[in-house]
């Protein structure tokens, strides 16, 4: 029970930190413009307020099934292949992966299982949207996809129904992989 609670707090903090870092990077680059800096600072404060007061998370903490999460790296590889190898670009690659994934819901057998796959595959597709300068090869995409799958498993009850959550998880996966590769290459 305690482990679940620690996991919940951990993933909430992780999501919050990555979003604040994202905003702070904008703040740093636009510090010369007072208006822009004030606007970004307001966004940081409002996000902080929503995390503290908003009804963003489900009451109990549940984990996503690993049978669903294993499809995240598959979505990442598919999107990466369409994006980098076929040269379709990130948006078309992710949209095509998401469209193909959504067709799985029309498979007549094991409907309960197939209905849960499109969000996981679409989440993976965001990893595959990475630029060639970030996602240098398929190993990077697979690793980032696996990290994203782990984040998807532990964040089932967090930010419930908020659009952009799968994207944030993918961003976490990509950033973590990038940092790890950077550390190991030093």
């Amino acid at each position: 029970m305690k482990r679940k609670q620690y996991t919940r707090i951990g993933i909430i903090i992780l999501l919050f930190v990555i979003q604040i870092l994202f905003l702070l990077a904008i703040f740093r680059e636009n510090a010369h413009s007072y208006l822009l800096a004030i606007l970004v600072a307001s966004l940081v404060l409002l996000v902080l307020y929503t995390y503290r007061k908003g009804n963003l998370h489900a009451d109990g903490h549940e984990f996503e099934s690993y049978k669903i999460a294993v499809w995240v790296p598959a979505g990442a590889v598919c999107s990466y292949f369409l994006n980098q190898e076929l040269g379709l670009g990130p948006v078309l690659a992710a949209a095509l992966t998401g469209t193909l994934a959504s067709l799985l819901t029309y498979i007549p057998w094991r409907k309960a299982y197939f209905q849960h796959l499109p969000p996981a595959i679409y989440c993976g597709a965001f990893v595959g949207m990475s630029d060639a300068s970030v996602a240098t090869d398929i190993t990077f995409v697979l690793t980032a996809g696996c990290f994203t799958a782990i984040f998807l498993v532990v964040s089932k009850s967090v930010l419930k129904g908020i659009g952009g959550k799968p994207g944030t998880l993918a961003f976490l996966g990509v950033t973590l992989t990038y940092i790890l590769i950077y550390i190991f290459r030093q």
Binding site: L23, V40, L43, I162, G173
Partner: protein, 152 residues
Amino acid sequence: MDTIIIIATSIAGALITFLFNTRLGLGPVKSSAWLTLLIAAYFHYCPDVLSPYLTRHIPVAYIGGSFIGMVSARQLSTYTGIALAGLIFSFIYLNTSKLFTGYGGALGTSACISLLVVLSIPYFRTKRKMTIGLLQLRRLIIRKPAQKKRPG
């Protein structure tokens, strides 16, 4: 002009996806992916219709806006709130940091931040709260003068 088109695309992406997601009951993934596929395919195969800047940025702004429209109606159910989130998203997108350029999921993170900002204002969350808020605002503006007591 290009900036206005990008802002309008983000807002339209959010509103159209939300409409398909909640009102037409397509669900978040189909609503986002299907429509984005049409727009991205059009600009990929017809790159000379608009300027190179718009051809590059319209599909990205649309898919980013569509992530906002994937929100559950339990969390946010007003079109004003969705449009405002689209506006905030376009602000983040237009000023996004070079540090995170090319990172997969950056658009989703921007969309999530935009939604969290809108959710900090309870007024936009549901139609009921919005109506109550509007009534309170009207009561504040058009306050009836207190009736004077007649002497005697």
